[in-house]
Amino acid sequence: MMEQKMNKGWASQDHVGEIKSELLELNMGPQHPATHGVLRLLLETDGEIVYKCTPVLGYLHRCAEKIAEGINYKQWVVYSDRFDYLAPMCCNHAYVTAMEKVGQIEVPERAEHIRVVVAELSRIASHLIALATFGLDMGAWTPLLYMFREREVILDLLERISGGRMLYNYMIPGGVRYDIPNDNWEQDVLDFVTMVETKKVPDYNNLLSYNKIFIERLGNVGVLSVEDCFDYGCTGPVLRGSGVKFDCRRDDAYSAYPKFDFEIPVGEGEVGQVGDCWDRYMVRMKEIEQSCRIIRQALEQMPDGPYQTHELKKIIKAPAGAAYSRTESSKGELGHYIIADGGQIAFRHKVRSPSFCNLQVIEKVGVGMMVSDLVAFVGSLDIVLGEIDR
């Protein structure tokens, strides 16, 4: 059937207009090195120029929202891990925040601090992967291995606190599953944060960010205007790359974030226009530094007390009602809308995932680009298919 559909597309060449040559229909993905997962881009190209770009989704659909209607609130934390599997702690955090809002659950202060620390560690890990694979898309192999080396340290730290290396299932409504371990964990995190700030980020900047070829490839490429960002609902580093100072951690503060002092880096058009691929890249690089700042403050102000509320042993029931909460995951604004009917299972659970909205913009910006630039653009959006297809 697919073939029939494609043949039809070949036959009707209305859109070609004055161009004499045929457009070449090109399937980029679902198995392609530059699509960051099982994304399929249907391209219509003339030589190197892309005339139409349609993302085709659904290859990783796992019915996560529907499953929420069959299992209880605590059990669903596992599925939130699998949303953005590069920053699971942020996704955990997003879900439990919404859950606590609808269930009216009190969270101890210590738990909030621990949550912030692990979520920011997760954010650094996610940004490292984003930058590394972006470099790889641009043909720079070596930064990939350097950044994965640092990510490994984060995974080790998170393993020590949660027991998992990639999917943690660490936060639960009303707290976190385990307290900070007694093996000097806090000091190790501080050491790592200092290392990243003083050594690693300057290293990356020297090696990749300010490389002449890298700048030539990315400056003025894939410029995303603020209007486009608003129209398509782009959030996170993509929105901030276009120069909008918006961050849920500050503007719609949740958890313990209001207590901490941090800046929101925005794209400044350092090597080209504001909102080009390089700006989005650089926003992530600067966010790593800001995350380090937050982690340091959260650890220094870490209060004593319980790390989860006491009545958590029981099954959680949420009173009838609905709640939406939005949090800043590493990819952007991650929102959960939960409708509760008074039982232990959600009546409806809807997720607003940032990558899904960020990806849509490719339809508009991708037109007229070269194939190589399209790869750069997709890389700079930093999408995760687990979150898009859910």
Binding site: G139, A140, T142, E216, D373
Partner: protein, 352 residues
């Protein structure tokens, strides 16, 4: 070649050999040696590339196969590649599909004939040497375009089109950069070029005048593009075109491309050391010197430089690549030719 004929003649029972037979026998043995060298360099350089990449990327690279630092890794790879199924896509143009890799290999193999390994150690010592090398290595483009087209795969076609555009363009600065040297020597004969650089490092052409110094770097950049390696690996660009022109190839046919890539890599490095870096001459005149070993060491150093660049820099875009070639490198190399000529006239070296 003459030395080889003498050697063959001196063998017991071969003294009565006619001139023709001796020539053919010598040519056959030389060709065999060259092919062996080429196969060997693919094995050595795949291992070396992994080790260099590992070194740059803060990891080990192959460590298990062959006990010491994975020295047998390339052999294991070759065995694996030999055992793979040979797939020809159903819609492919079968003849071209088969012929493409052969032509690629042939193009890079033929050029080896004119490489002077030592004073008397050259397969074909003839007056058009350098020109011949550049001419036959252009055949690689044909093979590349052929296999990309025949694969009946859009990615392969993209890779082939990019590859053809890139390699044809970069052949111009590549050849132009060597022209000043040819002007100094007054000959295209490869042996003559090396002989002209006798007498220490300051007689190497790279240091003869500032224009030649620039020409050396132009040559080096163009040679990276000519071998299709990063940051100019447009025909492959694994993050854009999957694997470029060899997307559909498997097994031994794929190995042909692989073999030819590393043979080409060493070839351009050897040309660099032959034309600019004094060929088989040692840097200091009095030094004890094994000609072919010196030559090969210089070549390997150039290959190392190439790998260093590849594993450090990001890739340029295809239009930037063309821009660099036509608007920067070709004018610059023409300038080198003119400047070098003026320099020769002013310093009284012209008018040979």
């Amino acid at each position: 070649m003459e030395a080889l004929i003498e050697l063959l003649r001196s063998l017991p029972g071969a003294s009565g050999m006619s001139d023709q037979t001796a020539f053919i026998a010598a040519a056959a043995s030389m060709a065999t040696i060259m092919f062996m060298v080429m196969a060997l360099c693919a094995i050595v350089f795949t291992w070396m590339e992994r080790k260099v990449a590992g070194f740059i990327q803060n990891r080990y690279g192959p460590m298990r196969t062959g006990r010491w630092h994975g020295v047998a890794q390339a052999i294991a790879d070759m065995l694996k590649i030999l055992s793979k199924e040979d797939i020809i896509p159903a819609e492919a143009d079968k003849g071209l599909f088969i012929f493409g890799p052969i032509l690629v290999l042939l193009g890079s193999l033929l050029a080896w004939a004119a490489i002077p390994w030592g004073p008397n150690f050259i397969a074909a010592d003839f007056d058009l040497g350098l020109f011949y090398i550049f001419a036959v290595s252009s055949m690689v483009i044909l093979g590349l375009l052929m296999s990309g087209w025949a694969s009946n795969n859009k990615w392969a076609l993209y890779g082939a089109a990019r590859g053809a555009a890139q390699m044809i363009s970069y052949e111009i600065p590549l050849a132009l950069a060597t022209i000043p040297v040819v002007m100094y020597v007054g000959s295209l004969n490869t042996t003559d070029i090396v002989v002209a650089q006798q007498g220490g490092i300051w007689n190497w052409f790279v240091f003869r005048n500032p224009f030649l110094f620039i020409a050396f770097f132009l040559y080096f950049i163009a040679s990276i593009a000519e071998t299709n390696r990063g940051p100019f690996d447009m025909p492959e660009t694994e993050s854009e075109l999957v694997a470029g022109y060899h997307t559909e190839y498997t097994g031994m046919r794929f190995a042909f491309f692989f073999l030819s890539e590393y043979a080409n890599l060493f070839l351009v490095a050897l040309i660099a050391s032959m034309v600019f870096l004094g060929g088989w001459w040692a840097p200091i005149p009095g030094l004890p010197n094994v000609p072919w070993l010196t030559f090969v060491i210089k070549g390997i150093l150039m290959v190392f430089l190439n790998m260093w660049v590849r594993w450090t820099l990001p890739r340029v875009r295809v239009d930037q690549l063309m821009h660099l070639c036509w608007k920067v490198m070709i004018p610059l190399s023409l300038l080198c030719v003119i400047g070098s000529g003026i320099w020769m006239m002013l310093s009284g070296q012209a008018g040979v």
